[in-house]
């Protein structure tokens, strides 16, 4: 099975992605991760204004069969939360890199992106 791994973002080994634009990063989980989890039924996320640390806890995603911790790919301040996930958590399954995004974060330090995996490196990890 081949999974989508967009080139325009960076990845954590624990299967979160971040796409940075003008100092703001959008965060979600990968196609591979949503497939492993199965039907996502609940996502617990921090609130706007909360501070995140790179590789620190970001929240929890629950599928019917499993519960999984989420980790932040970057440090920063939460500027937006995808409220749609409260009522339609299945967006994470349907469109993990698009409508299934989870948070937007104002990055503390863009150089942290160097610590993350490129699309190629992440693809290698899940193959």
């Amino acid at each position: 099975m081949s999974f989508e791994v967009p080139e325009d973002r960076n990845y954590l080994e624990s299967h979160e992605w971040v796409a940075v634009n003008d100092g703001t990063g959008k965060i979600g989980i990968t196609d591979f991760a949503q497939d492993e989890l199965g039907d996502v039924v609940f996502v617990e996320l921090p609130s706007e204004g909360d501070e995140l640390e790179q590789e620190g806890n970001l929240g929890v995603v629950e599928s019917i069969k499993a519960v999984s911790d989420l980790y932040s790919p970057v440090s920063g301040t939460v500027t937006a939360v995808n409220d749609e996930l409260e009522n339609t958590p299945e967006l994470v399954n349907d469109d993990p890199f698009g409508d299934g995004w989870m948070l937007e974060v104002e990055l503390d330090d863009e150089s942290e992106l160097d610590d993350l995996l490129s699309a190629d490196e992440y693809r290698e990890q899940i193959e």
Binding site: G38, V41, F42, I64
Partner: protein, 365 residues
């Protein structure tokens, strides 16, 4: 110890199933999506490979007496082609396993067939042999688990699906009745039983014909994941989880399956259970619905509203039918009435929940 494999393990793998270890077996947990499989069973029909279930055959002059004394229900009530749900209890009345007992056709080699849970077949085989010797009975006991595959065809359209696949009509079977029917030329024991709350059938068939019979059904394949969400919605017990002989011993009255206990028969555990029935139980099996957001899971603490631990979640899930988090567990009887507010510790956070009568799906039984 290597995992035991159902006959179609490789077929399921090629079909894209994911697998889980269950009772020592390597079983498909999900073929497509648990939600999709669950909905197929609630709205149309799905087929489960449940070949991990055990099969023990009992025959001979004392077969009936042996079955009667080792299961809690009354096997003398069974005519050929009937089945009943029963518990297997120890001297203290504690559930060792739950099972379905079939009285087979008169032309069969064996008189009874019973179905222990996955991984319990050897234990039950030994138990039956041990008591046969102790009571000096004339009965043959055969562990036929490896000889049989078992499929469950479940859902409102299950009768049509089985009728279409079989040479004989199975539509006239009542609940818990069984008969032999030929499916794609294979003689199958077809019983109107199941574990989903839907109409449905369980087929027991020779394991070397597993592929032929599986291929006779053109419907959604379902894994243990959907089986678990379906049975949790019904409040049905899962052996090893909602009772566990070693880790969470329970008697049938606590587990709300007292209807399977026939105290006017003689069986191992009878006297203890008569006392339990007279004295009442301190804890009882309940269903609850989480009011706050979150998903209850096996092993989470149940607390009172004053944060005292009063029990443990034995099963829990987000109900695909209700889109609500539901769970099962044991609480003191004072907390068991529907509507009672309890709390469940979900990953360190106390969440409000309410006791609810089961089945959670009120129109099913």
């Amino acid at each position: 110890m290597p995992l035991r494999k159902p006959p179609l393990r490789d077929r399921h793998d090629e079909r894209g199933a994911t697998f889980t270890e269950f009772g020592g077996w390597d079983m498909p947990v999900e073929f497509d999506s648990i939600k999709q499989e669950h909905e197929s069973v609630r709205h149309s029909v799905g087929i489960f490979d449940v070949s991990h279930m055990g099969e023990i055959e009992v025959s001979g002059p004392d077969a009936e007496r042996l079955m009667q004394r080792l299961t809690t229900n009354d096997v003398t009530q069974l005519s050929p082609g009937d089945s009943q749900y029963a518990m297997i209890t120890d001297e203290d009345g504690v559930i060792i396993d739950d099972t379905v007992v079939y009285r087979l056709s008169e032309d069969d080699d064996a008189e009874f067939l019973f179905i222990p849970n996955a991984g319990h077949d050897e234990m039950m085989h030994d138990r039956w042999k041990r008591f046969r010797s102790e009571w000096d009975m004339d009965a043959e006991i055969r562990n036929a688990t490896d000889d049989y595959a078992m499929y469950a065809v479940q859902g409102p359209d299950a009768a049509d699906a089985v009728n279409e696949a079989a040479d004989e009509s199975v539509a006239d079977l009542s609940k818990f009745e069984a008969m032999y029917a030929s499916v794609a030329g294979v003689r199958c024991w077809v019983a109107r039983t199941g574990y989903t709350g839907e109409d449905g059938f369980e087929l027991i068939l020779p394991s070397d014909e597993a592929e032929t019979v599986w291929d006779a059904f053109d419907c959604q394949p379902c894994g243990l994941g959907a089986r678990d969400t379906l049975r949790t919605e019904m409040g049905y017990l899962l052996s090893g989880q909602d009772f566990d002989y070693e880790d969470d011993p329970r008697n049938p009255y606590e587990a709300k399956v007292g209807f399977t206990v026939k105290l006017d028969t003689e069986f191992v555990g009878r006297d203890a259970l008569e006392r339990v029935k007279e004295e009442g139980v301190e804890e009882t099996f309940v269903g609850f619905r989480l009011v706050d957001r979150g998903v209850p899971r096996h092993g989470y603490d149940i607390t009172s509203t004053e944060d005292t631990i009063i029990g443990t979640v034995t099963s829990g899930t987000m109900s695909p039918t209700l889109s609500e988090p539901i769970g099962l567990g044991y609480v003191p009887t004072d907390y068991a009435d529907p509507g009672t507010v309890i709390r469940v510790m979900v990953r360190g956070q106390s969440k409000k929940a309410k006791i609810e009568s089961t089945p959670f799906l009120k129109d099913k039984q």
